[in-house]
């Protein structure tokens, strides 16, 4: 059975190779090949999943060793896969949601002449992400990690003729490099600490390492996770990444890319559990990001950017949960999976709206669309209810658990984190309601002459329906008898938190803040007419529209600072380094022009010098003998 694991990665990889190297003769069939291979990978995943379910909890992990990659002395890197419950969850999510997005893209990209290339990149994205979650050592994980970065760069900048898309792709790539550096440093630290970077040996030896070492590794791993998962302070690329085609956004936000950071932290749980300081950093980053993303989401009029803010916020929840240790890992992954369903559904829905509205993204120019695209309305609405945590839908189960776990951290920290998570839930309810109201309700704010909204074709709506079904039922299914937690427990371990407030109180509080958020949104956007041009807004609104000044901050601190640093360094280089070098050279030149006076060309002068030297040597010998 374990021989099938390589097939998971191989199928999309072959697809990418075929589509990217196949040339024009695949133009007409390329999208089918790409989708078929994604589905094939999903089918293999299902087979493996079924097999895994049939075994006892302790025997579910599979290993496949393909070949020795770099065996150099004590350094040993293998191409080897590890498929345990955690990887299985990710594989199912990636291949499942990925396949749906592939199918959706067939319709969405129908009129794009570079569709074959687009599917090749999508397949590459899937392959890299699968490699990331299936690797059994950090170095191979790093390969997948970089592959994801490359594929995201290619896809965000897919419409490279638009300067904004090219810039966004470059920005995503550069910001990701910062995180990648963190991962590479983490791998080096692991190698120096443990002498290996394979998961098993590292986690087994983690207990022997000093806490300082583990904290250092944890912090650089967190940096890596921040880069890929768009967490503060490396969050700035996510909003701009909306420049890519909408299926790409869905893929990045739901199934691949941003989930990699959560996977990394959860996978490295053995290290984080022993480094409380690093865990504190993780929960702080998660809490800050979940509020940051939510606030940004409130102010955006661009539907995709509002959803992007929401992704940042939801990933913040996951990172927060992952930072809580064994009481949160399972819930982080559970929220990740449910989020994968409803966020993919929301993005595909947004894409469907844009498809019908001539690629218009400004929500202030939507309005009343529920009559024109009913399927999109229903599926988007179910995703909306799921994300705000409406009782009974999947978001309710996963988010509620995270808020509970946050309170369960205990002490003042628990109250702060729990409060932040609750506040985030309220804001989530607010901005998602805002998106819903502005898009599907109210009066139409578009020109009927110019826009002809219509429902999308079947190939696009079917994946949306499937995802909507997942959004509704996944959470409940996972929570029946704590199925999901017990499923993951062998890998991530699980501990019941001791919350200062009972679960029922937390749930009630969540419901209350949810109702408040929805209510405020209804008061602001449902009862009143939405102005077609954005009002000036408060200071916070204006800041949030500018992504809470993240780019200004980066510009002032990093770009300007970098420029100043470079100028200073150039000045120092010119004055000090060059001065020293040139000064040395000038001194040497002066000395040489003096010394060359000795170089008369007369052999006899040289002979005199030689004899003088010999005399000195003899004298020195005699003197030393005397000593």
């Amino acid at each position: 059975m374990e021989n099938l694991i390589a097939l998971l990665v191989a199928a999309p990889l072959v697809g990418a190779a075929l589509l990217l190297c196949g040339g024009k003769r695949l133009d007409r069939t390329g999208h089918w090949i790409g989708s078929l291979l994604a589905v094939a990978s999903f089918a293999v995943a299902v087979v493996l999943f079924a097999d895994m379910l049939g075994k006892g909890a302790e025997h579910r992990a599979l290993h496949q060793h393909l070949f020795s990659w770099i065996p150099v002395g004590g350094f040993r890197a293998d191409i080897a896969f590890q498929l345990d419950q955690l990887s299985m969850t990710f594989v199912l999510l990636i291949t499942g949601v990925g396949s749906l997005i592939h199918i959706y893209s067939i319709g969405y990209m129908e009129h794009d002449e570079r569709r074959r290339r687009f599917f090749g990149y999508l397949n590459l994205f899937l392959a890299a992400m699968l490699l990331l979650v299936l690797a059994d050592n950090y170095l191979l994980l790093y390969v997948g990690w970089e592959g994801v970065g490359l594929a995201s760069y290619l896809l965000i900048g897919f419409w490279q003729h638009k300067p904004s898309a090219a810039t966004a792709a470059k920005k995503a790539f550069l910001v990701n490099r910062v995180g990648d550096m963190g991962l590479s440093i983490a791998i080096m630290l692991m190698f120096t600490t443990f002498g290996t970077f394979a998961f098993g040996p590292v986690f087994a030896a983690a207990g022997d390492a000093s806490e300082g070492r583990l904290t250092a590794i944890g912090l650089v791993l967190l940096l890596a996770a921040c880069g890929k998962s768009a967490q503060v302070p490396l969050q700035s690329w996510l909003g701009d990444a909306m420049e890519g085609p909408t299926p790409v956004s869905a893929l990045i936000h739901a199934a691949t890319m941003v989930t990699a950071g959560v996977y990394l932290i959860t996978r490295s749980g053995a290290i984080f559990n022993l480094a409380p300081d690093a865990q504190t950093a993780v929960v702080v980053v998660g809490a800050v990001t979940l509020l940051f993303g939510a606030i940004v989401g409130c102010a955006k009029d661009d539907i995709k950017k509002a959803l992007a803010g929401s992704t940042m916020s939801q990933i913040g929840y996951m990172v927060l949960a992952a930072g809580l240790g064994p009481i949160g890992y399972a819930f982080a992954i559970m929220h990740l999976v449910t989020h994968g369903f409803f966020k993919a559904g929301l993005f595909l829905g947004a894409g469907s709206v844009m498809h019908g509205m001539n690629d218009e993204v400004d929500m202030r120019r939507y309005g009343g669309l529920r009559r024109y695209m009913p399927v999109t309305f229903v599926t988007f609405g179910l995703g909306y209810l799921a994300i705000i945590g409406f009782p009974g839908l999947s978001g309710f189960f996963s988010k509620d658990k995270i808020i509970e776990a946050a309170f369960a951290r205990g002490g003042t920290e628990g109250w702060i984190l729990g409060g932040a998570a609750l506040l985030g839930a309220a804001i989530t309810a607010f901005y998602m309601t805002r998106v819903m109201l502005m898009t599907f309700f109210g009066e139409k704010r578009w020109d009927p002459e110019e826009f002809h909204p219509h429902e999308s074709p079947k190939v696009m709506t079917v994946p949306m329906i499937v995802l909507a079904v997942g959004s509704v039922f996944a959470g409940g299914l996972f929570s029946v008898g704590d199925a999901f937690v017990r499923w993951l427990e062998p890998v991530t371990s699980f501990a019941h938190g001791h919350s200062p407030v009972s679960a029922g109180v937390v749930t009630a509080a969540t419901m209350v803040v949810l109702a408040i958020g929805v209510g405020i949104a209804w008061l602001m956007y449902g009862r009143k007419e939405v102005p077609a041009t954005a009002p000036r807004g408060s200071l916070l609104t204006r800041a949030a529209r500018r992504d809470l000044l993240q780019d200004d901050f980066n510009h002032v601190v990093l770009v300007r600072g970098g420029e100043h640093l470079t100028r200073t360094l150039v000045y120092l280089d010119h004055s000090l380094v060059d001065g020293a070098v040139n000064g040395t050279a000038a001194a040497m030149g002066g000395l040489s022009s003096r010394l060359r006076q000795l170089q008369t060309g007369f052999v006899r002068s040289y002979a005199v010098q030689m004899l003088g030297g010999a005399a000195v040597l003899v004298a020195a010998t005699l003197l030393m003998r005397g000593v």
Partner: protein
């Protein structure tokens, strides 16, 4: 008489040869002075051989002679070829290798 006087004689001859190298300009004479220095060294070696009671010193002197012969052959060839091109055997005339 103590044979150590041979060493003094060798030192004296060596010094005279060295002074000759420094003073004379005729390349052939300079060369002869070098031969004189080599001979002085040979005398010292032979005396050392007698002093230590083994023949190693004489062997070294013998090798010195062989090397001196080779050196003379090459050196004189160089002098001849320089003389042929410059019509001068003065070592001061061959002073182009300078800045």
């Amino acid at each position: 008489m103590n044979p150590v006087y041979y060493l003094y004689l060798a030192a004296l001859l060596f010094t005279i040869g060295a002074a000759g190298v420094l003073i004379r300009r005729n390349a052939i004479v300079v060369f002869m002075c070098i031969e004189l220095m080599l001979n002085a060294c040979n005398l010292a070696f032979v005396t050392f051989s007698r002093m230590h009671g083994n023949l190693d010193g004489q062997i070294i002197a013998f090798f010195t002679m062989v090397v001196a012969a080779a050196e003379v052959v090459v050196g004189l060839a160089i002098i001849v070829s320089i003389f042929r091109t410059r019509h001068s055997a003065s070592v001061d005339d061959a002073s182009l290798m300078k800045l």
